[in-house]
């Protein structure tokens, strides 16, 4: 059952936050692996 739709600006803010955090997490994983290789 869909809930009341959130305002568009709030939806965009949520996606922006989520994508920023996901990019940070993936970058950290890659950095850890890369540091291991360059040791």
């Amino acid at each position: 059952m869909p809930m009341t739709r959130l305002p568009e600006s709030q939806r965009r803010a949520i996606v922006r936050t989520a994508v920023t955090l996901a990019v940070f997490a993936i970058a950290l994983f890659v950095y850890t692996f890369w540091r291991g290789m360059s040791k």
Binding site: A13, A18, L21, K39
Partner: protein, 519 residues
């Protein structure tokens, strides 16, 4: 739309498989965690049964090592973390006045990754060579040489990691974007604050663990030598990378517990939390410090003196913000109109027993002393005081505290108190003697021991059975409360404050479709 229309959802198994509702997903997390506590608890009883007397009698040593390894992995990743995530799912939207989590479909996926991760992890027990046996820290070279059970473990950790990171993203996106109008950051309940900070810790720690175990996997199968000294690698590097994840992980396991205690103690003291802002800053300080103390887990590995000193003093500094918290909880209770219902009993036990774990942590932080304590039962006693009487007692406190809101019924207080006292006595009987065992030199992760350690081990095993079986009482209380009992009011506790107590008990399937306004 009417409330009844909002309450429509698929029934049966499809409700739980397809749900995007934060309350359903919270319940799934909590039930999953409860099952995992019993799986991990059964493993603990295998360990304690073998250690009841010296010599090898119940299980073979390799299986014993699998039990110590899997007990830790199951309790940490399957028990404590999902339990706190269950609390987060249920409570954060209710506490910030949001209709749901910010990313409900992602929320469903975060949960449903977990059962498959743990089926993979536990099925490792049945493959040739058995499950992982090198300890939950997966140190090479043991983990590189281990059976294919280690590969199962690595892939399971990847799945748990993805679940945790997605969960953390959801929590942060919810708290930053979904708060009710007027709820500024410094008006948020402490539980929400501690989870916000925990989510950032998860986000900064789990990808590092994923990187470490991926390197292990490539060392095992793809000819790399990240951790193989013979190939130019460095096994100590794994320890550094692992503990860069591992120490923040300790705070991932305890910060939400701080949040739960900070909700319960004011309620049953009938006073506002003492030093709210200092609690927030103390939590943030602990989170920051957790990233610069990792090598205190490896004092004996051989580090330059400057490194030993840095990690020793940085670790000791954590006692300052932690002390702020403990004194704030004590000051909240000071001259309050205290009552001692089961949540409050567990919360007070949490404060006192966690502090004992904190003090033994300070002892371990002293690098020269750690050379004696390292890898002894003193360490086992220390982290069980932090994780059982810390994290698990807070989980139990929170469960009793919010059960009326979740089920609409009050639990049986007499049975709750029985559960509390049996747990406290069983827990202390299990773990307090382990301090003495460690100080006397008994190493951890061994199936056999010298005869002079017998008596304390026997006390510990008796305590573990008392503690373990008394948790069945908790299951009985939860089932009884879910099925019926005295009706709970919207505000189930006289001194409770916060948005979750403004909605009926049980909380309707959808809440705060229209956000409340906070003054």
């Amino acid at each position: 739309m009417s409330t009844a229309h909002h309450d429509e959802h698929p029934t049966g198994i499809m409700r739980w498989l397809t749900t995007t509702n934060h309350k359903d997903i919270g319940t799934l997390y909590l039930v999953f965690a409860l099952i995992m506590f019993f799986v991990g608890g059964a493993m603990a009883l295998v360990i304690r049964t073998e250690l009841f007397q010296p010599g090898l009698q119940i299980v073979d040593p390799n299986f014993f090592n699998q039990m110590t390894t899997l007990h830790a992995l199951v309790m940490i990743f399957g028990g404590v973390m999902p339990a706190f995530t269950g609390f987060a799912n249920w409570q954060i939207p209710l506490m910030v006045g949001a209709p749901d989590m910010a990313l409900p479909r992602l929320n469903n996926w975060s949960f449903w990754l977990l059962p498959f991760a743990f089926i993979l992890l536990l099925s490792s027990l049945f493959v040739p060579g058995g499950g992982p046996a090198g300890g939950w820290t997966l140190y090479p070279p043991l983990s590189v040489q281990g059976s294919m059970g280690t590969d199962f473990t690595i892939l399971a950790i990847h799945m748990m990691g993805i679940s945790s990171v997605l969960g953390a993203i959801n929590v942060i996106a919810t708290i930053l974007n979904m708060r009710a109008p007027g709820m500024t950051l410094l008006k948020m309940p402490l539980f929400v604050w501690t989870w916000l900070i925990t989510a950032f810790l998860l986000l900064a720690a789990m990808p590092v663990l994923a990187g470490a175990v991926t390197m292990l996997l490539t060392d095992r199968h793809f000819g790399t030598h990240f951790f193989n000294a013979a190939g130019g690698g460095d096994p100590v590097m794994f320890q550094h990378v692992f503990w860069f994840f591992g120490h923040p992980e300790v705070y991932i396991l305890i910060l939400p517990a701080f949040g739960i205690a900070s909700q319960i103690i004011p309620t049953f003291s009938r006073k506002p939390l003492f030093g709210y802002e200092s609690m927030v800053y103390a939590t943030a300080s602990i989170a920051f410090l957790s990233f610069i103390v990792w090598a205190h887990h490896m004092f004996t590995v051989g580090m330059p003196l400057a490194g030993e000193l840095f990690f020793m003093y940085a670790t000791m500094m954590i006692a300052v913000p932690t002390g702020v918290k403990v004194f704030n909880w004590a000051a909240t209770m000071w001259k309050g109109s205290l009552t001692f219902e089961t949540p409050m009993l567990f919360a007070i036990a949490f404060v006192m027993l966690f502090t004992i774990g904190g003090f033994s942590g300070l002892m371990l932080a002293i690098a020269p002393a750690d050379f004696q304590y390292h890898d002894t039962y003193f360490v086992v006693a220390h982290f069980h005081y932090v994780l059982v009487s810390g994290a698990v007692f807070a989980i139990l406190a929170g469960a009793y505290y919010w059960l009326p809101k979740w089920t609409g019924h009050m639990y049986n207080e007499t049975l709750g108190k029985w559960h509390f006292w049996l747990s406290v006595i069983g827990f202390n009987l299990t773990f307090f003697p382990q301090h003495f065992l460690g100080l006397a030199g008994m190493p951890r992760r061994i199936p056999d021991y010298a005869i002079q350690f017998t008596e304390f081990n026997q006390w510990s095993t008796v305590g573990s059975y008392l503690f373990g079986f008394s948790q069945l009482l908790f299951v009985a209380i939860v089932i009884q409360t879910a099925r019926g009992g005295k009706k709970a009011e919207a505000k189930a506790w006289e001194g409770a404050e916060g948005l979750e107590w403004t909605v009926p008990s049980p909380a309707p399937y959808h809440t705060f479709a229209t956000p409340p306004r906070i003054k």
